[in-house]
């Protein structure tokens, strides 16, 4: 992705967003006389709820008229296999960031997996189209800036619903920023072709991500009484379980094929 540029449309967008933030304000904290409601308020940890709901509504509107129809078309036009190849390529392009986060999380074996995945899939896997690395014993895993900051002990902070990006928190937003900053593709080339490639990658990434959750999101919006709250709950739980998985990194530091480990086993 290319560096951000100030354009009239961007200024307009910022103005609109700031305006909504000021108008919507904060959630009212329940009085201390109602301890149950207060406990729930603290547990929900969404003091910006009115603002978040406005942004959720805007995002939802954009999704209904733009992203969802495109994702449906994307799924209808391209066969399963092609879509899974595209998903693999996108995943491979994200591997340098994953590797950096593995190192920052001090998970040497995970870092080895990421490194081998990038090396194997970029070459044998023809630019990441085929995931040859998983079959060779280097499975994929989750590692990103938000998880790294969590393992470093940074608290999650209140719930944030970001324009375009969707559910987040100060910690995850900071993590996304770090990921962008350490992504080599952010800094490679500034020509018009590079910029076009960057936009294409972002666009295809959005289609890929949206098309993979088409059925699940449809189910949530049709079955939940309050989809905003349901998505907030699902997002928090899902992130928490990713963090716990990363924390419980059980891979031995000495790989199984290393002679010393083999001897120990016998």
């Amino acid at each position: 992705m290319s560096a951000s540029r100030t354009s009239p449309s961007r200024i307009l967008l910022t103005t609109v967003l700031l305006g909504t933030l000021l108008l919507a304000g904060c959630a009212t904290r329940p009085p201390a006389s109602d301890p149950d409601a207060l406990a729930e308020y603290n547990e929900t940890n969404d003091p910006l709820e009115p603002t978040n709901r406005v942004i959720y509504a805007v995002n939802n509107g954009l999704d209904t008229v733009l992203l969802r129809p495109l994702a449906i078309a994307y799924r209808a036009v391209l066969p399963d296999m092609v879509r899974s190849h595209i998903h693999n390529v996108l995943g491979n392009l994200g591997m340098p960031v994953q590797l950096a986060n593995d190192i920052l999380e001090t998970h040497p074996r995970k870092a080895g997996d990421s490194l081998m995945r990038f090396a194997i899939n970029s070459t044998l896997g023809v630019g990441g189209i085929f995931d040859a690395a998983t079959d060779m014993g280097y499975p994929d895993h989750d590692a990103d800036g938000g998880i790294t900051l969590a393992l470093w002990g940074l608290p999650n902070g209140p719930y944030l619903f970001l324009p375009v990006f969707g559910p987040s928190s100060p910690r995850d937003a900071a993590g996304t920023g770090i990921d962008q900053a350490i992504n080599p593709f952010t800094w490679v080339g500034h020509g018009s072709t590079d910029r076009a490639l960057g936009y294409a990658k972002t666009g295809i990434g959005a289609l890929d991500a949206r098309s993979r959750v088409l059925d699940d999101l449809d189910k949530i919006t049709s079955q939940a009484l309050d989809p905003y709250a349901t998505i907030r709950s699902l997002y928090r739980q899902h992130r928490q379980s990713e963090i716990e998985d990363a924390r419980a990194d059980g891979q031995a530091t000495v790989p199984a094929w290393f002679p010393a480990a083999a001897e120990k086993k016998q």
Binding site: A37, A229, T230, S233, Q237
Partner: protein
């Protein structure tokens, strides 16, 4: 460790007496611990066996040759006998269960049951080809979590934990945790958000559930 080291250096001192008492206490408690451990293992095995049988029942229905309507009926029977639906319903209503009138509680339980069954049996066709494999089980503070791998054709297998209560006469499922997200917790958060935005009125929730059950 420290107590032991101190005991070696200083002969009769209050510390040694204390550590001896601790050691004696521990020795006395050890058999108790062991039985506790054995009981926990037995509970885990029981829960694992229960989920193993349940998953085979589920697979037999969804991958079977019957019509969709027959499958839905069979699935409802499995839910009714193996899931603690009332317990889940109470959990989902949370603190509002206490403020609801007995009549509201009754209505809510009936509607919750209906909506739950509708949501599960309505999608019975989508589950075809599913394979469930029990992997391990571990006690948690609110029951025993049995971890399974659920594989569907053309997608990567998902990790699904089943929370089992073995306190009753027969084991019952009290929660399903798919890829780290608990179904009952998500439902509880959904209901509580709805109630907060509707003046904490349980009857408003009942009306909304009536609409859902009607569909």
């Amino acid at each position: 460790m420290t107590n032991q080291a101190c005991g070696k250096q200083m002969t009769p001192s209050p510390l040694t007496t204390v550590s001896r008492r601790v050691a004696l206490g521990l020795a006395a408690a050890l058999p108790l611990l062991r039985t506790g451990r054995a009981m926990a293992d037995a509970g885990s095995d029981k829960a694992s066996a229960f989920i193993d049988r349940l998953s085979h029942d589920l697979m037999a229905v969804v991958n079977g040759p019957q019509s969709t309507a027959d499958k839905a009926a069979a699935l409802q029977k499995i839910i009714d006998t193996n899931v603690d639906v009332d317990g889940v319903a109470k959990f989902c209503l949370g603190r509002f269960w206490r403020t609801a009138t007995p009549d509201e509680q009754k209505q809510y339980l009936t509607l919750f049951h209906k909506v739950l069954v509708n949501n599960i049996t309505g999608k019975v066709g989508e589950y075809a080809g599913v394979q469930i494999t029990v992997q391990r089980s571990a006690p948690r503070e609110d029951g025993i979590a049995v971890t399974t791998s659920v594989a569907r054709p053309n997608s990567e297998p998902n990790k699904v934990d089943w929370l089992v209560s073995i306190d009753g006469p027969t084991p019952l499922v009290t929660d399903v945790i798919a890829e780290g997200t608990s179904l009952r917790l998500t439902q509880r958060n959904d209901y509580s958000a709805f109630l907060t935005r509707n003046n904490n009125s349980v009857s408003a929730l009942i009306d909304a559930l009536k609409q859902q059950a009607g569909n």
